[in-house]
Amino acid sequence: MTSGGGLRAPAPPQSFSQMFTHCADPSQLEGLSWLLCYLTTGKQFLFYGSFLIVIALLVVTAPVALLFGFGGALAARSPILPLRLFGKGYTSMVRGVPDIIFFLFVPVAMDQGLEYLRHLWKCPPSDAPVWANNEFNVCAAAKIPLSTSPQIWHEAYGFALAVVAFAVVFGAFAANVLYGAMNAVPRAQLETAEAYGMSPAQVRRRILIPQMWTYALPGLANLWMILIKATPLLFLLGIEDIVYWARELGATKSGIYAFPHPDWRVWYFLVLLGFYLGMTRVSEILLGRLTARLSRGQATMAGEAMRKAGA
């Protein structure tokens, strides 16, 4: 084509960096550039960051809950009576009381309990009662974290309380699963170990626990899925998780905000739906592989299926 009035190459698209400086005045923007500016505001990044909080909760709570579960299961099987009562009591009580009560009670109780202990240790003796008039009053040095601490410590502390609350509840369910799995290990295996001269502790460590996993895995996999679905309860504990931000960001925004918009909660909750379905699918795949690996050589249906498939 010749020049002058003919075809011209289209203007090059604006670079992203140009788009971001344009975000300084949202009222001048329309359409896609408004949307891109909206999706990159500081508040939206808090939303994206909260996904990491949820994943961090899962990654931290699962081992802690498993630990509590182990403790509970071994206690329930113990020959020492008080320990056995504690183990059985722990599983029954937590399984019998609605989870939400633990999620609301444990953080408050632990927080006040720890601050009370510090009060006894650090505060000058005073007559004022700690619990009075619906208030909880300890001197400023006893507070955890201190009021002068940076906000990140307050948030980390709140998160830690949430992890403990989740671990207490899911630990009880895990204890039940592990208790059943330990009982399912064939007695013949344990008897053979005893015949070899192993002490009870050695039998437990070398034979019972390694063999128990294949029986425990279906129950624990189920618990993991339930834990994933329970993470929105973080929102009840005042932690700013994905549900909190989805509600906050989706709600109608009037002109007082830089980026006004109508009720967009449907879209935000669809994103949450996608996230949870994705997590569930990935978990299913990984747990399936783990089950296959643990079933090799076992006297279970899964083991038998693998032998037949190999033959």
Partner: protein
């Protein structure tokens, strides 16, 4: 993560020096123009600016914390923060549980809004849970429908769950626009004794400090200037 803080340094308490305690100001963050979370993720609004000014005048270090409206008073009593500045009206019922400073915003009118001008104000009315408006609706003989945030109450009217919403006029005004379809219905109702800062009853010293600086701001007109800045010239100040 939570909102921006004013001070981030950790201090050690040393004998002899006045202990530099940080006052934690609690707010809701979902009630513009009193308090809201701006697009940078920080607490913003009339109460943020007023709170920062009061702290500066009283020579206190303050940080801001947000908390859901439902549990805002119990968490104050538990010690999670030290004050509440969340558009909370001074009422006798609340005075039984916490103390208030003097009002920093005069009693604001509350109003009904609905999709139709002839909506039944004695039918199903939506209000935010735990507010004086919810109380008023319950006593007026209408069927009360409560929601955790102001947004949810307006959404209920828009989707037909409720006939009307009854709320503070200023925050509700943001939703009563030509495009939303909502319109004012009936007369304004004056409720409550003005908006004040909530404190624990055992914190008399802190209350004294804030009362003093609020009175100072009323006397030199800076409080009225702030009210006009955020709420417009129509609001009668102090």
């Amino acid at each position: 993560m939570k909102k921006l803080i004013l001070t981030a340094a950790a201090l050690a308490l040393s004998a002899g020096l006045a202990s530099a305690q940080t006052v934690r100001m609690g707010t809701e963050g979902a009630y513009p123009p009193y308090n809201f979370i701006n697009d940078k993720g920080e607490v913003d609004g009339f109460e943020r600016e007023l709170g920062d000014t009061l702290c500066a005048k009283a020579e206190l270090k303050c940080t801001w914390v947000t908390n859901e409206w439902d549990s805002i008073i119990p968490n104050l009593l538990s010690g999670n923060y030290d004050t509440i500045m969340a558009g909370m009206s001074i009422t006798d019922e609340r005075k039984e549980v916490i103390d208030f400073t003097e009002a920093y915003y005069p009693p604001a009118p509350s109003a009904y809004a609905a999709l139709k001008p002839d909506a039944d104000m004695k039918g199903i009315v939506a209000a935010q849970v735990g507010t004086i408006q919810a109380d008023f609706v319950a006593k007026s003989g209408a069927t009360l429908l409560e929601f955790p945030t102001l947004d949810d109450t307006v959404a209920a009217v828009k989707n037909g769950e409720a006939d009307a919403v009854f709320a503070d006029k200023d925050p509700l005004a943001a939703f009563v626009t030509a495009e939303s379809g909502l319109q004012w219905v009936g007369e304004d109702v004056a409720l409550g004794g003005g908006v004040g800062m909530g404190l624990r009853k055992s914190d008399a010293e802190l209350k004294g400090k804030f009362d003093a600086v609020i009175a100072e701001m009323k006397a030199d007109g800076s409080l009225n200037a702030l009210i006009t800045k955020w709420f417009g010239p129509d609001v009668k100040g102090f």
